[in-house]
């Protein structure tokens, strides 16, 4: 009797030691892989988006590796086309900006030398109305020589940025490739570490969360895509330059509830203010975006997402703001989905823990 109780305390101690070692290992590996956590996160999202295509093609007994590579080639080709269309414009703009800076450095910086005549006129106008504010000095200080020297000193940072981008472009597709190819192997390995008592529970939990969050996430993507599409069409009809990029920005910002449409419209407003398009187009695009937003909030959102996101509007807006404070624009974008995911995990696990008599 004494012997068994002794061995049971010993096995309990051993179990605690193993748990602590595992926790330490988890912390150490998170610290070690910290710098590429965002890559892994991005890989998961890309793999998640491509997975339905790969699973569909698998029906025709085509190996996963080949279908993933085929999808990569197609995506690469599309990106190539996109950059081919955009890059010449960007280079042209870059040259134009460089020219103005060279000219300006000869004459000294001012708003008019930077080609920002409209902004210059606007400020003159403001100054006549509010003589107490020294707007011109404030704005000119943005373009001061100090600032430009500072920017030049950051060129090594730019190289670092290029390195990061290259690492990103190599690491993400490779990680996504293996996540997609060996999806089932990873699943089996992860679930094989779970004890029999919690095995069915964990599968149940995983499937329920995947179902509820997956539905929400896919709907969100489709909604953004449709908003981007409508915006691009609207911008093309109005004849605004860079319609494709501006429309995509609107679509990408759209999941930021309430604030997204305003953030997404900023680039369009800037293009109209500083571009060749007459200012009256500000009114037209306001009407156009208003119509797009109404279609989104009255038809698309209720139809696609509707009840699948059961979150109070107050919680949603607070999450968006808190996300913005903590992680900037990415926090605003991913705040609501992440909080929704956590909420789903808590709700589903509470119910399942009871069903499996764990609590």
């Amino acid at each position: 009797m004494n012997n068994t109780s002794q061995s049971s305390t010993r096995s309990k101690t051993v179990r605690w030691i193993i748990i602590i070692i595992n926790l330490l290992l988890a912390v150490v590996s998170i610290l070690f892989y910290k710098s590429i956590l965002s890559y892994i996160f991005a890989s998961f999202i890309i793999a998640y988006l491509i997975a339905p295509i790969i699973n569909y093609v698998e029906r025709y007994h085509i190996s996963r590796a080949i279908s993933i590579l085929a999808v990569y080639v197609i995506i690469g080709f599309l990106l190539f086309l996109l950059f081919n269309a955009i890059l010449p414009q960007m280079i042209q703009q870059y040259d134009a900006i460089q020219e103005t800076i060279v000219n300006a450095s000869k004459e000294g910086f001012s708003l008019s030398s930077l080609g920002l005549t409209k902004l210059d006129n606007y400020i003159t106008n403001l100054e006549t109305k509010f003589p107490n504010f020294e707007i011109r000095e404030q704005v000119n200080s943005i373009f001061s020589t100090d600032k430009i020297n500072k920017a030049l000193s950051q060129i090594p940072q730019i190289f670092k940025g290029v390195f990061n981008l290259l690492a990103f472009l190599i690491v993400v597709p490779v990680v996504s490739f293996f996540l997609l190819k060996d999806e089932r192997v990873f699943m089996r390995t992860i679930f094989s570490t779970i004890g029999n008592r919690y095995f069915e529970f964990s599968i149940h939990l995983f499937e329920k969360i995947e179902e509820s969050f997956g539905k929400f996430f896919r709907a969100l993507l489709l909604e953004s895509f449709l908003v981007a599409l409508m915006s691009v069409i609207g911008l093309l009809i109005l004849g605004i330059p860079y319609a494709l990029i501006l429309g995509i920005v609107v679509g990408v910002a759209n999941p930021i509830k309430y604030l997204g449409p305003f953030i997404g419209a900023v680039p369009t407003v800037l293009v109209i203010l500083f571009g060749p398009v007459p200012d009256i187009y500000l009114l037209y695009i306001t009407i156009m975006y208003f119509i797009v937003q109404q279609i989104d909030s009255l038809i698309l959102f209720p139809w696609l997402i509707g009840k699948s996101m059961d979150m109070h509007p107050l919680l949603v807006i607070l999450t968006v703001i808190a996300g913005g404070y903590a992680f900037g624009i990415l926090g605003m974008l991913f705040g609501v989905p992440v909080v929704f995911l956590l909420k789903t995990i808590v709700e589903v696990s509470q119910k399942s823990l009871k069903e499996f008599e764990i609590i």
Partner: protein, 154 residues
């Protein structure tokens, strides 16, 4: 690595002998294998209890298990399941909770597939899916026939 390959071959050979998978091609079995979890149960260990959500469908690879019900502290044994046998199939067709409890009588190895994964497999490989569902229908019919006979004899 070599052992892994042999283990995989053994597993496919075993699956081919399971009645509900006997008409599947080798390529179908390889795809199906991707969804299977191998679980080891010690003698006396509970697999699930009546009333739990119906999540996994099991095939016995090794060992022996008992299907039973508990009524007022009395245990009614319903069935014993040996290698190549399977249990937990009701959940594949109907959204019901577990209708009985299952415990391992000796150290056992089970192959489990989640109800959702099996539905995905049937959807993705309809020809193989028809074979599996047809064989499962046969197994369930046999089960009802034997229950009827038992009622008749009582």
């Amino acid at each position: 690595m070599d052992e892994n390959v042999r283990e995989e071959k053994d597993l496919l050979k075993f699956l081919k002998k399971v009645s509900i998978f006997r008409d599947l091609s080798r390529s179908d079995l390889k795809h199906l294998r991707q969804y299977l979890y191998t679980r080891n149960y010690a003698a006396g260990e509970q697999v699930f209890k009546k009333g739990y959500p119906n999540v996994i469908f099991y095939i016995v690879r090794e060992g022996e298990l008992k299907v039973y019900l508990k009524q007022k502290n009395e245990e009614i044994e319903l069935n014993r399941i040996k290698p190549y046998g399977q249990f937990g199939s009701f959940g594949l067709f109907k959204d019901v909770k577990r209708t009985a409890s299952v415990v391992a009588l000796e150290d056992s190895v089970l192959l489990g597939i989640s109800k959702k994964d099996l539905a995905t497999f049937v959807h993705n490989f309809p020809q193989a899916g028809v074979n599996i569902l047809y064989e499962l229908g046969c197994v369930l019919s046999e089960h009802i026939i034997s229950l009827n006979e038992r009622l008749e004899n009582e």
